[in-house]
Symmetry: C2
Subunit: 135 residues, 2 copies
DNA sequence: CTGAATCCGGTCCGATACTG
DNA sequence: CAGTATCGGACCGGATTCAG
């Protein structure tokens, strides 16, 4: 029916198991998914995937992020253990951010998703155009 | 350094290429990523991955979604061509939603991400606890 | 250079009530 | 059964200003 059907079936089964549990407290999967969709998190992760960066360096490479959101997003990523923050006691001070091992392990799953996105964009946009014309 | 390093390197390179383009208009990758993080989209996709569902059936299987958001999210998914909507002209009327081929092709990338989330949750929560205690 | 603090508009989304 | 319409709070995130 579609490529990767068997693999998909496995994921569907696992998903069914996961949500079948009473899930004491908020669902951890949703929690992670929220961060993925967060406006800047994944953008920064992929930027840091190319190597460690300083604060303003990140600000230059992701021009349309505000200082506030850059600080906040980096702090959240650090809190989740995806990014490590190292302060150099120089003058003026400089701070370097780098992916942790956990953060690096996220590159492949995100990459899979980005690859899907790039491949599917034409069909999605075509579908949108058609949908909007009908309605 | 970490498992999947070679694969990761490929994704990093591709990502660099993707963002290097001037990106006329809004970045399509961000556009898709936004939908992933959308509060309900992926939850519905994974629920529909198990098979077609009627409206109220979905409402029962995802209890904490409001009628409004269920309608709205399904319409957005339909607009993007991920979900097909079929109306049966019965009394009372019934409407069935199912994943399109495009929607099905999303199961594997999402599944990869969910698998990462499940595997990484313990480390993430440990990191959060540690971070909160320090600060 | 690397932030923190504040203000504020826009958007998301839940609750509720109504319709064919 | 399968929606639509409206209201209102909460939160996200941008712009600006101040600080170590």
């Amino acid at each position: 029916m579609f490529e990767g059907q068997d693999t998909a079936a496995i994921y569907v089964a696992r998903w069914a198991d996961a949500v079948a549990t009473p899930a004491a407290g908020p669902c951890p999967v949703r929690d992670v998914l929220d961060k993925i969709g967060d406006k800047w998190s994944m953008l920064l992760v992929m930027t840091l995937a190319a190597g460690p960066r300083r604060f303003n360096q990140l600000h230059r490479e992701v021009p349309d992020i505000s200082q506030k959101m850059l600080t906040q997003t980096l702090r959240d990523l650090q809190r989740d253990g995806l990014v490590a923050r190292q302060v150099f006691d120089t003058k003026p001070p400089s701070v370097e951010y780098r992916l942790t091992d956990l953060g690096q392990s996220l590159i492949v799953p995100i990459g899979t998703l980005i690859e899907w996105a790039n491949k599917s964009i034409p069909r999605i946009e075509a579908s949108r155009t058609h949908f909007d014309q009908v309605s």
